[in-house]
Amino acid sequence: MIHVEGLTKRYGTALAIDNISFDINQGEVVGLLGPNGAGKTTTMKILTCFISATAGRASINGFDTFDEPLKVKEQIGYLPESCPLYHDMDVATYLEFAAEARGVAADKRKRAVEKAISDCDLGKVTRKLIGHLSKGYRQRVGLAQALIHDPSVLILDEPTSGLDPNQIRDILKLIDSLGVEKTVIHSTHILGEVEATSDRVLIINNGHIVAQGTPQELMARSSGTTVFLTVKGQDVQAALGAAPFVKKAERLGEAVNGFQRLAIQSAEARDVSLEIFKLAVQKEWLVSELRAETASLEDVFAKLTRGQA
């Protein structure tokens, strides 16, 4: 598990992260979300002992990143941003090197390399030079080296950046399957990715954690659920406005053939379409559309990082 307390990093006078604290439990997949320059990479660099924090502590599986960096490094697999690899090495040679450097015992090394190759689907390119591989394959080699010593914690900095949609889906699927037994912390600014893979999301902006929770919690918290209703009947807006579960009912455009479209904000952060349906039945309205729409993570993100919804 990962424990971060009051972590602060200053580059000269610039404050990259400011008093960040969070905990990540064993087996959790956590998405680190934020605009560019928010402090995601800095946080990861501190967790992987590449740099030190100016203040605060971070520990992984109980080992402090500042006091016991070697122990920490043994616990983690790390894929840095932009996936730096030795372009003059072939895939198998590179993975053998990674296994050796990450302390995989000599008799288990061959097995570890084979497993990483099959997990990351690199069978077709094992003898190719990394410099000659496509971006998608390179990213997979980067993941393979992070996995090679079977670490309990995986730290992946923008593992899907620069990939095409199919490659992104493959990588996300891989992360998802790894999350079953490993603690994974990955950063991204693509919101769909965290929705798809993460148990929990930390949103970072300007070096602060501005929100955390499951993707669903965050979405609900932003502006609740909006229900779109297209209906024909008497006193629709007045009846809806009087209902206790409705915060606001707004007409959208002019009525067409007597059917009026409305956007209804629920009073609580939940889907109220069932109540609206019951009300429509009771009032004998004709309903041609009834659809609930939860605020997307994009909305939450925009609201939290730019102060607008």
Binding site: Y78, P84, M89, A101
Partner: protein
């Protein structure tokens, strides 16, 4: 130490993973042999000694050795691989030592190919092999000192060309101070200081066929000092 060996293998392999390593060795042999046989006119001198060969070595190494060391850190920094390397469970000194030893081995391989010169000499005359072996050992010391300096300077930049030029400049100065005493005669203590500091004056003793413990201590100190600075510079990213 096992980890240093891991880094050593990786770095040595990378010297030979592209044509650059081979081209380098061939070019080195061409230059050093051409200098010895043609510039110094070996065949007219009628001496079966390699003194001229080794006398030119500090100056030939001046250009070749920084080329061996320049990429060791600079390239890792430029490619970003340094981040992966330093987040592997390795100690900083193990990485530095592994890189240094790989460069040393590469230099050793280049020197190994230059053994064609003493072999030719043995065919042409009766050279004093004691002096030649001593000179080779001295050349390895000299080259190692250059490498340690070049490796440290490589860790200060992410530009290989900058690393090359600054290494060359620093080594050049350390060679020149050995010649300086000639015109520094007026200030006595400075002369002996310059003489002691220079990479050149210690090597001059070696080419005479004398391996003095003072020279060994000098080269060892230079190597240890710059490797130490290198380790500290790599650790500096984590100072707070």
């Amino acid at each position: 130490m096992k980890n240093a060996l891991t880094i050593f293998k990786k770095e040595l392999r990378s010297y030979f993973s592209s044509p650059v390593g081979y081209v380098f060795i061939i070019f080195y042999l061409l230059v050093s042999n051409a200098f010895f046989f043609f510039v110094q006119d070996f065949f007219k001198q009628g001496q079966d000694s390699m003194r001229g060969y080794f006398a030119a070595m500090p100056w030939i190494f001046l250009f070749f050795v920084p080329a061996i060391s320049m990429r060791l850190w600079a390239e890792e920094k430029k490619m970003g691989t340094v981040e992966l390397l330093l987040t592997m469970p390795l100690k900083e000194w193990e990485v530095v030592l592994g890189k240094f030893l790989a460069a040393f081995a590469f230099l050793g391989i280049a020197l190994l190919f230059s053994l064609t010169v003493p072999i030719s000499l043995a065919y042409l005359g009766k050279p004093d092999f004691g002096v030649i072996v001593g000179s080779y050992v001295g050349a390895l010391f000299l080259g190692s000192a250059y490498l340690a300096i070049g490796l440290y300077i490589s860790s200060l930049t992410e530009n290989q060309v900058v690393a090359f030029i600054i290494s060359l400049a620093v080594i050049f100065v350390l060679l020149l101070v050995g010649i300086a005493p000639v015109w520094l005669n007026a200030v006595g203590s400075l002369v002996s200081f310059c003489d002691y500091v220079s990479l050149l004056s210690h090597f001059n003793n070696v080419t005479r066929g004398v391996i003095d413990s003072r020279d060994v201590v000098y080269y060892a100190s230079v190597i240890v000092l710059f490797l130490y600075l290198n380790v500290k510079n790599i650790e500096a990213r984590k100072w707070r």
